[in-house]
């Protein structure tokens, strides 16, 4: 049983494995990384896999090592995710995601009257804050609006 589960996670030759993704967030991981149908590498994912700390999702991207900055955006929707860089079937680097302090063009401002939701040629911009009481929150740098709970629902 254990062996099988490990195979699911590690059976790629080169690339990136994003593990311990919050259950149900795998598709959002692809969105937050900007991976669309135009992406040419092989992607596979497991959703709701039983893990030692409850259910989790796992995303594997073959043949491509994404940059750490790109990957850290995952912390917005899944703060416990880990990033495994795989070369020649071996994990050569394992990191926890780190919350970025600023994100651009990743999340839509939930203030409908915000200039970043208009047809102006600009990207949304947020500073990212984390507090013990309120968790992760995004502060729109245009309109000052704060998004805290609905981050995953507002990925661009």
């Amino acid at each position: 049983m254990n062996e099988k589960r490990n195979l699911k996670v590690q059976a790629i030759e080169n690339g990136t494995v994003i593990d311990h993704v919050k259950a149900g967030q795998a598709l959002n991981v692809l969105r937050i990384l900007g991976i669309s149908s135009a992406f040419r590498e092989t992607i596979s994912f497991v959703m709701n896999a039983p893990g030692a700390r409850g259910k989790k999702d796992v995303v594997k991207i073959e043949g491509k090592e994404l940059s750490i900055e790109e990957l850290n955006r995952i912390a917005l929707i899944s703060p416990k995710a880990t990033i495994n860089i795989i070369r020649d079937f071996k994990v050569i680097q394992k990191n926890e995601v780190v919350l970025p302090s600023y994100v651009e063009g990743v999340v839509r401002c939930t203030n409908l009257n915000c200039i970043s939701n208009s047809s102006e040629p600009i990207k949304s911009k947020f500073s990212v804050l984390q507090s013990e009481e309120e968790g992760v929150s995004l502060h729109c740098l245009y309109c000052d609006h704060v998004i805290s709970e609905e981050i995953a629902e507002n990925l661009l």
Binding site: N113, C114, I115, S118, E120, P121, C140, Y142, C143, H145
Partner: protein, 308 residues
């Protein structure tokens, strides 16, 4: 302290020292604003007033401020009617106007539009009000009025009316917190000050009280800042009628006020201040409207670097 080429977008961008500097500059320019002295400080400068929504009062006071300093005004009036910019996005409009003028005053209905304008403008931008968030020149003039007519440090102030949606009171709270004010918020329950603002002030050790009665506080404050309660905020017309009368300053109410109480209002008022109040020594809202001129003169002159 140099403000040259600095944008004026949000009160939160200004420290207490910087605010004091703007207020000091306005005070120096006040004789010019009153027409008692002449100034050519903005001689040869062109100020573009780019208003995407009507706000006659703000536009006029910027125009007077620019002209009193000898500057020229490029008044783009109601832009939605102007064919020059039809269909053009705001970013391009700002880029083009940057080539024509030495400074842009922007008023736009979308939140954050002024911040965006600073990303593309090659001249300073002054936010003349963007959407429902920022209107920094109003807050500067409110602070200036308080300083001229009362005092800023450790002020006991009450703000009354629509505290939920009123952007002017939100940024005024922030600015006054830099001066250690004691604040009382007077509003019907439907229109209370947003709790995150109240929490934020308390975190800064600002003494904050909330009530729905003017009678309760009128004898206890030095400045009473009134705002308009709009009927459309109330789904039930009867509720509005009740509120309309409970948050109204009358001669009777003022009997309980201290002799130095000053009443401010960003205007226009509807019926929250009865006309008999105008004749009392408490009324300062027409002075407040005038103070918009020296404040806007100061901001124009500082942003263009003609005063340093």
């Amino acid at each position: 302290m140099s403000f040259k080429n600095r944008h004026v977008i949000s009160m939160k961008d200004f420290s207490r020292e910087e605010i004091d500097y703007v207020l000091d500059t306005a005070e120096k320019l006040e004789p010019v604003a009153r027409g008692e002295e002449r100034s050519r400080l903005l001689d040869g400068k062109i100020i573009s007033l780019l208003f995407f929504e009507p706000s006659t009062r703000t536009r006029l006071s910027f125009e007077v401020a620019a002209r009193r300093l000898g500057g020229q005004v490029l008044n783009l009036g109601s832009v939605e009617a102007s064919s020059v910019m039809k269909g053009e996005n705001l970013a391009d409009t700002i880029r083009v106007i940057s080539k024509y003028a030495d400074l842009i005053v922007l008023r736009h209905p979308l939140d954050g539009s002024a911040r965006m304008a600073t990303e593309v403008a090659s001249v300073p931008v002054i936010n003349g009000g963007d959407g429902s968030v920022h209107h920094p020149t109003q807050t500067f003039l409110d602070l200036y009025t308080i300083r001229r007519e009362s005092h800023l440090e450790g002020l006991k102030i009450a703000m009354a009316g629509d505290l939920k949606y009123g952007r002017t009171v939100h940024s005024l709270c922030h600015a006054l917190s830099l001066y250690g004010a004691e604040m009382t918020f007077v509003s019907p329950p439907e229109l209370r000050m947003p709790s995150e603002i109240v929490r934020g002030l308390r975190k800064q050790n600002i003494c904050v009280k909330e009530t729905d009665s003017l009678e309760e506080i009128i004898g206890d404050v030095e400045v009473l800042y009134m705002t308009r309660v709009q009927q459309e905020r109330f789904p039930d017309p009867d509720e509005y009628e009740k509120v309309k009368n409970s948050l109204r300053i009358t001669g009777d109410l003022l009997k309980a006020a201290g002799p130095d109480l000053k009443i401010l209002h960003p205007l226009p008022r509807v019926n929250e201040i009865s006309p008999e109040v105008d004749e009392t020594s408490h009324a300062r809202y027409f002075e407040q409207a005038f103070y918009g001129v020296p404040i806007r003169m100061a901001l124009l002159a500082l942003a263009m670097g003609v005063i340093e």
